[in-house]
Subunit: 223 residues, 2 copies
Amino acid sequence: MSRLTATGIALELKKRISAGAWQEDGRMPPERDLAQEFGVARNTVRRAVAMLEDEGAVVRHVGRGTFLTVIDPDSLAAIVSRMEGTSPADMMEIRQLLEPAAASFAATNASTSELNAVREAHQTACDSTDMPTFEHWDAEFHHRIFACSRNEFLKEIHNLMRVLRNQSPWFEMKKRSFSEERRQAYCREHQAIVDALMQRDPDGARQAMLAHLQTVGHNLLGR
Amino acid sequence: MSRLTATGIALELKKRISAGAWQEDGRMPPERDLAQEFGVARNTVRRAVAMLEDEGAVVRHVGRGTFLTVIDPDSLAAIVSRMEGTSPADMMEIRQLLEPAAASFAATNASTSELNAVREAHQTACDSTDMPTFEHWDAEFHHRIFACSRNEFLKEIHNLMRVLRNQSPWFEMKKRSFSEERRQAYCREHQAIVDALMQRDPDGARQAMLAHLQTVGHNLLGR
DNA sequence: CATAAATGGTTCACTATTGGATCACATAAG
DNA sequence: CTTATGTGATCCAATAGTGAACCATTTATG
């Protein structure tokens, strides 16, 4: 941990909490213990815990300790935190449900300039050679299709999935499943989607997207 | 790579940022580190970073570091807050996408006791006479179907929709569209869904659910 | 009940890191 | 030659982390 140690520790603590740590009695370890564990001064831990307190994730009592705040299981925060544990298989299943529909909506509702933006993202992804750049424009391609589906809620669900997919287990997974051959296959499949969109063919777009996601799912989940 | 000028370094940094680098905590490496990495004087890096700052891509703080301004345009909190503005029409569209699928999954994956729980919620809803009680068990009926779809992410998306639908504009809407006649129609349609589920008929469940949601959408949105 | 231990709250002086600013000098392009 | 850009160095200012001491409150112990 180079610098801004307090921020890093706050992140780590939040990660542990959302992973279910200290749920039994809702009590976090004493600051002095955490300081020793992280190999850091107590003041630093105090600043980290203060951040959690500011966010309402935790309450502190002199002489008693630091306690996780009880969360309403129906609150948006709780729902989102449970979503963070989503398995890749479950999410792929939902992607295969939503994205073909989004493509179909896009074929019907998108403006020509929006479709051009989709095509541009596709082109840039095809032209890219390194994996991070390709990943970025691939994500952008999918995002732009949602963006012109003209359904705000659908768009936000996709944003949610995008954030979840940027978390650690997914990143490793994507890196492992990446290869030049697959990148080219994705480009061909994206092309088919773009073609259907430009022809304003909702059903063709839906099918092309579904086919693409089946490939992705197969590569990612290995089945 | 020969000699990178300040503008060249600025370009490289921008490329990294747009490829998602340093998104975790939004903090760029110290200028001195970048200078060493690029094999260049610190002054040169400073000029490059100054360009990013001029473009508003980055903010600098003495003693703290240099931070991306676009920390996370799609943080979970921001996404959820935008979702709160979801229009009823958009959400109905997505319900009609997800719930038939959930019903289909449930027909395949649910245990018998889970299906009994679904049927019980349906029965209680049918037996209830006042609108709040009916609303509650109607929601519970739909929720239990998601619960036995065996897809955790799908279940959480439904939780999200449920919370959003409990907010003000929806409540008024539901109250306005409620009538004894419609309540009975919903019971008949729920019955058809339950029947398909008990017969383990995924396609029948999907179609029954879709038909039901089309009725609901028609009643709610008046079209 | 009285005392000790545990735990969060507060403060202070010190060090390390990091961006801000300036200067003299070298090198290449026009 | 002139100009622009990069180099290397030095110092400044702001912020973060360290280590230690002491306080206030709660809980456990005898």
